[in-house]
């Protein structure tokens, strides 16, 4: 089933079927009006410490919501709430318009199948090879190896790691582990992908590669995503460049400007569990809030 559903996720250099008919062509689709993710007045506290303070926001279809903020600001907690790994004390969490707030662990299994998750350190299963890590979800669904292997190879080609298919996680560099984590998250072609600081601790070129993968998902595959980060480079890439397929069928990245203006990336900045900014990167850079200015300057 996954093999047939996931035919649209492309290899680099191939034209995506979704590329032509996603964000721009489908604006009249009523289904697109329903946000992929929505938080309504979410409150979460551990003991006396408020982690998320009445948080409300939406992630629209095909949109990337970049969540910025310092450590301990509640960024990663948002992702755990979307996955149902944590439950809010108050408020509602909706995925594809479905209120998952009170879902049981068994009910969440079906929701999680629609969501891909990229963890900070990759969170690969140490005892499994790259192949088995990427194939994990399909193996759990009981698919045969004949169906699983082409899917795994396609995903590893997407992240340019097909050569590492037989390696163990311990043999991989930090960047490779993150890319395998992305391949694992994308198997089954989820339409929602959550990135939890995927570039933390990586060198700039590798961080750029991870951002390019996120841009490809956003612009060519119509994937909605939350991209949690505290690195301004990520913001620059994701908010100023977009992926297109050129005449040779190659995926290339262009800067927004005269041809196109990016409208499918929004920024949300958090501080101590509260949203202190929500909007475009251009507005963020003009914000006068001292915390935001300090964050943007880096000192």
């Amino acid at each position: 089933m996954a093999a047939t559903e996931s035919q649209h996720l492309t290899d680099p250099g191939e034209v995506s079927r979704n590329a032509a008919g996603s964000t721009f062509a489908e604006v009249d689709d009523q289904h697109r009006i329903i946000p992929a993710i929505e938080f309504r007045n979410v409150l979460l506290a551990f003991d006396d410490r408020v982690i998320l303070d009445r948080l409300s926001f939406k992630v629209l279809r095909g949109e990337t919501k970049i969540i910025l903020g310092g450590s301990g600001g509640g960024k990663s907690t948002i992702i755990k709430l979307v996955l149902g790994l944590l439950k809010p004390d108050e408020g509602q969490v909706l995925v594809d318009g479905e209120d998952i707030t009170d879902y049981t662990e068994a009910q969440m299994v079906a929701v999680r199948k629609r969501i891909g998750m990229v963890f900070q350190e990759g969170a690969l299963f140490d005892s499994l090879s790259v192949y088995d890590n990427v194939a994990y979800r399909l193996h759990e669904q009981g698919l045969s190896e004949d169906e699983v292997e082409p899917e795994v190879r396609r995903m590893l080609r997407f992240v340019n790691l097909e050569d590492a298919i037989d390696k163990m996680p311990a043999e991989l560099s930090g960047g490779m582990r993150r890319r395998v984590g992305i391949a694992r998250a994308l198997i089954g072609d989820p339409k929602i992908v959550l990135f939890d600081e995927p570039t933390a601790g990586l060198d700039p070129p590798t961080a750029r590669t991870i951002c390019e993968l996120a841009m490809k998902l956003r612009d060519l595959e119509d994937v909605s995503s939350i991209f949690v980060t505290h690195e301004m480079n990520n913001l620059d890439y994701l908010c100023s460049e977009y992926a297109v397929v050129n005449e040779e069928g190659q995926v290339v990245f262009e800067r927004e400007g005269e041809r196109l203006c990016l409208t499918n990336s929004k920024v949300m900045m958090m501080k101590e569990g509260k949203v202190i900014f929500s909007g475009t990167d251009e507005r963020l850079r003009k914000a006068e809030d001292p915390y935001i200015q300090k964050f943007l300057r880096g000192h």
Partner: protein
């Protein structure tokens, strides 16, 4: 968690490969230490009891005393303690490492219930392996006792084994299997719980491992007291 794990044993998806791997790690992997423990415990029981029994002219009952002590008490308890140390620590460390490196979260995010995938196979493997290991420890322990009795004190092997046969009842053997079954649940539940609730990075893994072994060992010893008393009533063993 224990109830969900036991439920996971009977409901799908079932992880047979994982269960077999765990049985190999827990059962086969513990065989050497269990046999060594059993053999020398049986031997030392003979060394400690033979002189006293000989003082009363009852040295022929050495086999009986060694066998009853091993089958009713020392076999199940010592095996459980050894398994708690070796396997309980390994389970807590493995699950603890998976927890702090977000592998458990990843598993849940990928739509897998960690209780079914990780806890249930370990519980099932312990439930099968621990009684078997206990029986092996009992048999090897009696062998150790026989070795000490014949080589150190010149007791004939026939006399030793005859007293073993006379001393052991079906209820003893039944009780000696019921106890490790309960201990298996204790060790599995404590080790998995401590592992899955690990916090604080690699330091936390060490802390969880230590706590798992200490808690499981204490609970096994305390549970043994109550089980011994309960079995006396249930199986009609001599209580006075």
């Amino acid at each position: 968690m224990t109830a969900r794990a036991v439920g996971g044993i009977f409901k799908g998806p079932r992880y047979f490969t994982e269960t077999i791997a765990q049985m190999d790690a827990i059962g086969v992997g513990s065989l050497t230490i269990i046999m060594l423990t059993g053999f020398f415990t049986g031997g030392v029981l003979t060394i400690q009891t033979f002189p006293t029994l000989a003082f009363w002219g009852q040295q022929g009952q050495t086999g009986r005393l060694v066998a009853v002590s091993l089958v009713r008490e020392l076999g199940p308890v010592l095996t459980a303690l050894m398994v708690a140390g070796r396997v309980g620590s390994a389970i807590a460390a493995e699950l603890g490492s998976m927890t702090v490196s977000q592998q458990i979260d990843a598993m849940r995010a990928l739509g897998t219930d960690p209780i079914r995938k990780l806890v249930a196979p370990r519980m099932l493997a312990l439930l099968i392996a621990l009684p078997l290991l206990t029986v092996i420890a009992d048999v090897v322990g009696i062998g150790g006792g026989a070795f000490a009795a014949t080589s150190l004190y010149g007791l004939s092997i026939g006399e030793f084994l005859n007293s073993v046969r006379e001393g052991i009842t079906t209820d003893d053997i039944l009780g000696g299997v019921i106890k490790p079954t309960c201990f298996a649940v204790i060790i599995g539940a404590v080790a998995c719980y401590k592992g899955l609730n690990t916090e604080g990075g690699t330091v936390g893994v060490g802390r969880s491992t230590t706590r798992a072994v200490v808690t499981a060992s204490i609970v096994v010893i305390v549970a043994d007291f109550f089980l011994a008393r309960a079995l006396q009533y249930i199986l009609g063993m001599p209580a006075q």
